[in-house]
Every structure is written in C-alpha cells, then in structure tokens.
C-alpha cells in the first residue's frame, strides 16, 4: 500500500461521510508504477533482441494488478482459506469475516446505504444478466419497454434482447450526438406508460462519455421507472455515489478496477432486491430446503448460489483499498492530464479523427487514422510496445452510429505516464509514415 498516498482525496468512509481533503500533493506516478510488477517487464523480447518497455494503454479492457492485490490473494490461499458461510471451524470463520468485510468495503466504495445492497457476481455482465433474469422475468410483460442507449456495451444489450425474445418486451434506444453525448430530450420523450426500466451505461467504453446518471435517474423516477447503470468504466475513473445518483441498480467489475477477474458487483436498492426471486439455485442462497419446498435467504445471499469467488473477493477488497488510498479524485485528475496530452497531440496529426469528444469524458481515447485500418495500426503500435485495443470494442451499434467498422482505442489507467501518452502519439505517427 502506498502510504504516502493514503487518505488523499475525499473518499467516503465507513459511515458514508466524507473525510476532509488534504492539500493536494503531486501525484507520484513513478511510485505507483513500482507497485505493479507487470509494468517492469519488457515485451517482444527474445534471444538476440532487446525487448521494449510495455506501454499498457488497454485499461478499459482490463487493468493490471498491483502487488497489494496479488499479495492479498496469495496470503488468502496460504494462510486464510476455507469455504465461507458454512464452517464452525477457525479458518472458515476467519475467511468468512475477511470475505464479508469486502462486501462492506464495496458498499463504502459506492456509498451504498448498507452491505446488504451488495450482491457479488462473477463480473458486470453477470450482474446485468442477474437483473434481467430475476427482475426482468418477474416484472416485465409483453409490450413493456426497456430503454437502453446507443452507447451500450453488448453486455447491456444482449441480456435485454434475450428477454425480448422470451417475453416480447420492447427495447428503445436513446441516441447520441456527434460528440457521443446522449440526447436527454430524446430520452425523456422515449419514456412512456409501458417503460419499466432504463438501463444505461455510466461511462462509454468506446467514446469515454460519462453520462449524467443523476439526471437520467431523476427523469425516470418521475415516471416510476427503475434505472440500472453500467459502471464498469466509471467506477475505475471517478468517485461513484449510488445514493447521490439515486440508482436502483449499479454494476461494475473487479478486473478493470485493478482487481482480479471472476468477480463483479451488483448494487441494488433494498426494496427492489427484496421483491426479486432467486437468480440461480444452490447452496448458500437457501434458508431451508426440503423436497416439500424450499425457502430462500434475504438479499444479497439469495442471489449468490454456490461457493462464491472467495479469493477474488479478497483481491477485490485489496484493489479497492489501493484505489481509495490513492484517492479517486487524484486518479481522475492524473488520468485527465494524460487524456488531454494525448488528445492535444493526436489532434494535430493529419488524418487522425478522434471518435468521442464529450465534455468531461473519462480517459478513453478512440480514434481512426485515414487510410490505415485500426487492426494494422494496433499491430504496428504493439511492435513498438504500445498496447491498444482495436476493433468494435463489444459496442457494434455505437460503431455503426459513427459509421465506422472499427477504431483504435487507448485507455489510460492510474499508472500511465505523460511519456506513455507521448509514446502513443509517436507510434501513431510512425504507423502513418509506414503506410505512406
């Protein structure tokens, strides 16, 4: 844990109150980098050839893991591991306490009213599928409407399409403008008497737009409509307060938050969760089982059948501690300086078109280069050690909205540097030269 960074920013503490912000110190990115073992390695290294330093700009796909996360997971397996919620023996109790403490950390991280609002899932995709399968199947009928946006990741499109096929619900889509900003007037007009749910991303994984979640929720709630936000890209870049937003559901995933894969989170409003039937059946989610009939536990356990991701949970807890110690405001500030540097320089490269220019966007930079397919660009940039994602980014409708088959995307994380933002632009210029 980088103690020097501890308590920076103003993250909500256990009581949901905000600590006073300390005077800003310079963000020591080199010290942060030292916490990430993978950043010390070289890529494209082989006998007779020196490798290149890794310039990892694919954080929106998945982020690297700090030593604190790795150590916490190893320590769990070495010293503090047993199944949870089951044993009366010492280790099981210890593991249960540690695992349940993580639920509390997640609640604080989102400023949720209680740990009971936090359902632990395998990833954000499963969290959305849980809502679609449990809430959607129970409360949606033929002709009911679910409002999505054109910014959505496939994870927040396909579960609703499955429900569309099964139940005959209607999907409506909020459009965005050329910058990638949602059209809130069109959104308000889409809501009608049959609208039951608004499920919209809190931050686009392609164009970086941060949507006005509180405003979206306010408009929906005026009509008694529930709202779900996909926070996979926002929870990592900025402070999130589900109560201030007034979200009914909020999902995010662990692996983009510098935590392990295999763990995600569904925040749900208590009154909504309590009306929802189980998602999957199995151990841990039941109160009593007999062949005459079974009763289920209260949320969140009702939705957590089977042995949960215990080790991943411990890892996510360590990741949250790590991010909170740096301070999400400080992280956001640092990432924005990188975004601004890369954007300013990239804009000046002839033939580059930046896709997504919403004000206040997250540190995600999608772009295309005239005459060079993103796939070629990505492969050549990789040869210089610069890892970016290319393609449709699991958001095909959004790419279609911009008339594109694919983009290249650089996404910045808390350990990236100004030199790396420059390396991206240098790589783009070299690739352009290559195809000239």
């Amino acid at each position: 844990m980088p103690d020097a960074h501890r308590n920076r920013g103003h993250s909500p503490n256990a009581q949901g109150q905000h600590r006073p912000a300390l005077p800003p110190e310079p963000y020591d990115v080199e010290r942060v980098r030292a916490d990430f073992p993978i950043l010390q390695r070289l890529v494209h290294e082989r006998p007779g050839r020196l490798g290149k330093p890794l310039v990892y700009l694919d954080n929106a796909a998945s982020a690297q893991k700090p030593r604190a996360v790795i150590d916490a997971m190893v320590r769990c397996m070495e010293l503090e591991y047993a199944n949870v919620h089951r044993g009366i023996h010492y280790l099981s109790q210890q593991t249960t306490d540690a695992y349940e403490a993580v639920r509390g950390k997640i609640a604080c991280f989102l400023n949720a009213p209680s740990r009971d609002n936090i359902v632990i899932t395998r990833n954000a995709t499963e969290a959305i599928n849980l809502v679609a399968a449990s809430w959607g199947r129970t409360f949606l009928e033929r002709g009911d409407e679910v409002v999505l946006s054109v910014l959505e990741h496939h994870a927040n499109i396909v579960p609703w399409q499955l429900l569309q096929a099964e139940k005959g619900i209607v999907i409506k889509v909020v459009p965005c403008d050329e910058r990638g900003v949602l059209d809130l007037d069109a959104y308000a007009d889409l809501l009608g008497p049959r609208t039951k749910l608004v499920a919209i991303t809190h931050g686009s994984n392609v164009v970086g737009t941060v949507t006005p979640a509180a405003e979206i929720a306010r408009i929906a709630h005026r009509h008694g409509i529930l709202v779900l936000f996909d926070g996979s890209q926002t929870a990592v870049h900025m402070p999130v307060d589900v109560q201030a937003i007034d979200a009914d559901f909020y999902v995010f995933t662990g692996h983009k938050l510098y935590g392990p894969t295999g763990i995600g989170v569904l925040y749900g409003r208590r009154s909504v969760l309590h009306r929802m039937p189980p998602y999957q059946g199995g151990g841990d989610m039941i109160a009593a089982v007999s062949f005459a009939g079974t009763t289920y536990r209260d949320p969140p356990y009702r939705f957590e059948a089977g042995t949960p991701p215990i080790i991943e949970g411990i890892g996510l807890g360590a990741a949250i501690d790590y991010v909170e110690a740096l301070g999400r405001d400080a992280i956001a500030l640092h990432e924005h300086s990188l975004l601004e540097r890369a954007t300013t320089r990239l804009e000046r490269v002839d033939g580059v078109r930046i896709v997504g220019t919403a004000p206040g966007k997250a540190a995600i930079l999608s772009f295309v280069l005239d005459g060079v397919h993103p796939h070629d660009l990505g492969m050549l940039a990789d040869q210089m050690g610069v890892a970016v994602r290319v393609g449709r980014h699991c958001a095909e409708p959004l790419l279609a909205r911009f008339g594109l088959e694919a983009t290249a995307r650089a996404s910045f994380g808390l350990y990236n540097t100004i030199a790396e933002a420059d390396a991206l632009v240098d790589a783009v210029m070299a690739v352009k030269e290559f195809f000239r």
């Binding site: 005459g371 993103p374 796939h375 050549l380 040869q383 790419l399 088959e405």
Partner: protein, 160 residues
C-alpha cells in the same frame, strides 16, 4: 534497416501487400454477378462481399469484391480475385486449401490437395507471413472463406 521500429513486421507487410491493401484490384460490384457472399470478422471489424460470375461450365468468369478491412485482408481479397479468375470451382477450392495450409502450417504440403496452379500459389505466398501471427490468419483467409461460401451459395459467413 537500422532502428526500424517495425523490423519484425516487414515480412508480414511486404510491398506487394501494402500495394494491394492501398489499391485493391477488382474492388467493384459486377452487375452480372450470379453468386455472392458476405464475410464478417467481428473481432477486428472487417466486412467483405465477394461477387462471382460463374458459367454453366462451373468456371469463374469474373470475381470481384467490395468492403474494406485491414491491409492484410484487403490485399488477400485483391490477390485472390487476380488468381482465381478463369478457374473452375474445383481448382479454386484446391487453391484455397493449399493457401490455407500456407497460412497455418510451417511445413505445408502443397501437393496434399491435388494439382494446383503453382504460379498462382507462388503469388499468394507473400501472405504466408501471417503464420507467425495467429490473430492475423483470419484476416488473410476471410476473402477465401467468403469465396467458398459464395461458390456454395451459403450467402454469409463469419470467421468468429
């Protein structure tokens, strides 16, 4: 080349590929085409339509394509249209099988699929560099898979 940041990739992106990638041949929609199919590589966003004008005799009299992808997939489609014109469906199929082996196997046996037009195969060899880059094999073979679908009348394929 000294200090060439792309040294390793020069084998893949040879001049012929850059040329065909930039200036694809037979990039058009022939009005008399009687077979077509669409190929899609959702992972990288390549989309291509292959058009065939096939005679009663089973000979491909004209072949063209539309759509754009990466340099590799575009160059491959362009080269394909050049080498399969005038070939029978069976010869085109054999050429595809050989080309596929070239792109995926280090020790491809070009005789394994029966007699093929070796001059045509030599022209396609320029793409065999994808062997070293498994993610790019789909790019090099997309046009050919689409061709096979067009010949079979399948209409639409995806490499995913």
């Amino acid at each position: 080349m000294v200090n060439d940041p792309f040294g390793d990739l020069r084998d893949l992106y040879q001049e012929v590929i850059l040329d065909h990638g930039k200036h694809p041949r037979n990039h058009r929609h022939p009005p008399d085409a009687n077979h077509e199919a669409r190929g899609d590589n959702p992972l990288c966003g390549d989309r291509i339509t292959v058009y065939l004008t096939m005679g009663e005799d089973g000979v491909i009299h004209d072949v063209a394509f539309e759509g754009r992808g990466c340099a590799i997939s575009t160059a491959s489609a362009s080269l394909m249209t050049e080498v399969i014109r005038g070939k029978s469906e069976r010869d085109a199929r054999a050429l595809f099988d050989c080309f596929h082996d070239l792109c995926t196997k280090d020790d491809a046996d070009i005789d394994a699929h029966g007699p093929v037009d070796e001059d045509a195969l030599d022209r396609l060899r320029v793409l065999s560099g994808v062997r070293e880059f498994p993610v790019r094999v789909k790019c090099a073979t997309l046009a050919w898979h689409t061709l096979a679908a067009a010949m079979a009348g399948a209409g639409k394929i995806s490499t995913e």
